[in-house]
């Protein structure tokens, strides 16, 4: 396994009484597209700022490409940041903006021109060199900011909520382009966002942050289907959370008594053995609850529920239901062809493999 390109070791950032980043350790491999996902105040932007060198951590270290860069200023780090408001120099043309980093590195004019043209080509803005910043649309400015960053070939590209200011359609388009760009360049990207759809669209790996800590870290599929913590389960999409008591630990599985009845959940590989009587949480994604009697191996009955709300959402029907056992409120996502109405009482089931035992 290759040595990780970026290593954060026990990084802490404290502002007076406020702990912005609480003991974060993270390794990022070269060529990966990492997303820092979290609500505002989760510390993701502070962490990015520490990576970029704009903020020094209160304690802990930052290593990039094997060197300790904790206190190295942004100018001398192999990172470049794309700011939320792009920060394009308003008094310079597109060409001069993109060329700025090269001028600082004393690249010769001819070489500079070649590389600027190339970078503009990569982001799809060939021939835009002579334009002025105020003549560009939001999406175009975004690309110029990207071009300016990639032209100096940094080891790590840091993006601070770069798509926040764009319209939905353009945002989705840019998400795809960012992924293509990252694959083409092979540069390590670290992308901060609060939008979990965006995180799923672009990331190779997602770090879910909450209150200065990383609650979950892994590939998108894993983080979504098997979230590690309560926060991760509820922040990334909807989740039904059942509080229960562990009754038996059977090695790979754990039996849990929940308000919807007894269930069997796969134990987390990294989790500790659950003691009998321990209070646990089980998470089920809305789309994993199905209507109908439990049939076949590995399918659990969850009792009966009455639908309280049904809303057609295009690709699915979003339903609220109240279960008869334990009066638990549930969210369901049913396929559109399944016609249901408010007030229907239905049996519900789920596959045991889709249930997730949460750490807290």
């Amino acid at each position: 396994m290759t040595e990780p390109l970026v290593e954060l070791r026990a990084v802490r950032k404290v502002y007076g009484e406020v702990i912005a980043v609480d003991n974060v350790s993270l390794s990022i491999e070269r060529g990966k597209f990492l997303v820092l996902l979290g609500p505002s105040g989760s510390g993701k932007t502070t962490l990015l700022s520490i990576l970029g060198g704009f903020t020094a951590p209160t304690s802990g270290q930052v290593h990039i490409a094997g060197e300790d860069v904790t206190f190295v200023p942004p100018a001398r780090r192999p990172t470049v940041t794309v700011f939320q408001d792009y920060a394009l120099f308003p008094h310079m043309t597109v060409h001069d903006n993109v060329a700025f980093g090269l001028v600082m590195r004393r690249v010769a004019r001819a070489e500079r021109r070649r590389r600027v043209e190339q970078a503009l080509g990569v982001v799809g803005l060939e021939g835009f060199g002579k334009r002025r910043v105020h003549q560009l649309s939001g999406g175009q400015r975004q690309r110029v900011a990207l071009a300016r960053a990639i032209v100096v070939e940094p080891d790590v590209l840091l993006l601070d909520e770069p798509l926040g200011a764009l319209d939905l359609k353009i945002r989705q388009q840019m998400q795809e382009e960012l992924v293509h760009l990252q694959r083409e360049l092979g540069t390590t990207f670290v992308h901060v966002t609060h939008d979990q759809d965006e995180a799923l669209n672009v990331g190779d790996a997602i770090a879910v942050m909450n209150q200065g800590r990383i609650e979950d870290y892994g590939p998108p599929e894993r983080v979504y289907l098997r979230p590690a913590s309560l926060f991760a389960a509820t922040f990334m999409g909807d989740s039904n959370i059942l509080s229960g008591t562990a009754t038996a630990d059977e090695g790979t599985n754990v039996r849990v008594d929940t308000p919807l009845g007894p269930v069997v959940v796969a134990r987390r590989s990294e989790g500790d053995a659950q003691a009998n009587g321990a209070k646990v949480h089980v998470s089920i994604r809305p789309e994993h609850i199905r209507i109908g009697p439990a049939q076949g191996d590995g399918v659990l009955s969850l009792g009966e529920a009455t639908l309280t709300e049904v809303v057609f959402q295009g690709a699915h029907r979003r339903c609220h239901a109240r279960s008869h056992g334990g009066q638990v409120e549930l969210i369901l996502r049913l396929p559109p062809e399944q016609v249901v109405a408010v007030g229907d009482t239905v049996p519900i089931r789920a596959r045991a493999a889709d249930l997730v035992l949460l750490n807290d």
Partner: protein, 290 residues
């Protein structure tokens, strides 16, 4: 159209406020434009035997541009004004920069107000107070003699240097204010981005901060120029009698000879100079910015 009128009636009448701007426009017409027009007209008349006569001649202009002692006043004025503008900017810019970027945020407004407060001494009073500092038995000479650095008092008052000093004192405060206001509204992300791309502090200043602050400097410089070139008090109190500037010449014509035509000629010339400077710097000057 009828529909619209009906709605207006329901809303309570014709929008009277459509006329709201006219009182001010009328006032400006009567008390600004008309006087300037009158002055232009009078510059072509002459004062003969104690009375103003509508002779319609260029004689006054001729006199102004051929009599060297009159033309000198124009050159002196321009020199003093340019000198004042340059020196004031050179002193004020670093001060504004320090306030905007080196002083902790908490102290910025306080220090700014502190630096600008003496701006509100009356013009007459301020020029006079420099006399107290610069004259032969003034504070500066007293201190220097008392410290044994010089034997006889330096002749500082009643010189061009004193005039420029008096002006610079005023405009350093004005320019600090305008340049500071300009610097703080420059998006800090620009400087962060430049630093991120490898720029040193000096490079950030030369390539980002300075270019973006030029418009603010030009506005300040323009104000300095206009106010200085038309100022009577400071050169009158501090400048002495060896050199006369245009405003002083104008006042001489008015008070001693009641020679309005001549005074008008000189005023018109001053206006032309100012308009020329405005046109030169108009790229940076939009009226809403003032």
């Amino acid at each position: 159209m009828a529909e619209l009128a009906k709605t207006r009636h329901q809303l309570g009448g014709f929008p009277l406020t459509r006329w709201a701007v006219y009182p001010a426009l009328l006032f400006t017409l009567v008390f600004f434009v008309a006087p300037l027009a009158a002055m232009l007209v009078v510059s072509f008349w002459q004062r003969i035997e104690g009375h103003l006569q509508a002779t319609w001649t260029l004689a006054n202009y001729d006199k102004f541009f051929t009599r060297s002692y009159l033309l000198d006043t124009l050159f002196n004025s321009i020199e003093v004004t340019v000198l004042t503008t340059v020196v004031s900017i050179v002193i004020a810019y670093p001060l504004a920069y320090i306030l905007a970027y080196r002083v902790p945020l908490r102290w910025q407004k306080v220090l700014l107000i502190l630096a600008v407060l003496p701006f509100w001494t009356a013009y007459v009073v301020r020029s006079y107070s420099w006399l107290l500092v610069l004259s032969d038995n003034g504070v500066l000479n007293n201190v220097l003699i008392g410290a044994g650095l010089i034997d006889a008092p330096l002749k500082l008052a009643y010189t061009r240097a004193a005039t420029v000093l008096g002006f610079v004192h005023f405009f350093v405060m004005l320019l600090t204010l305008t340049i500071y206001a300009n610097l703080v509204q420059i998006n800090p992300s620009y400087r962060s981005a430049a630093a991120d791309l490898g720029a040193s502090a000096m490079q950030i200043f030369l390539r980002v901060t300075l270019p973006l602050s030029i418009p603010g400097v030009v506005v300040g410089a323009f104000l300095t120029f206009v106010i200085t070139i038309g100022d009577y008090i400071t050169p009158q109190i501090l400048g002495g009698s060896t050199e006369i500037l245009v405003p002083q010449a104008i006042m001489l014509q008015v008070s001693r000879a009641a020679n309005f035509p001549m005074a008008s000629v000189m005023s018109m010339t001053l206006m032309v100079v100012v308009v020329a400077v405005y046109l030169l710097s108009s790229r940076y000057l939009k009226m809403d910015r003032l």
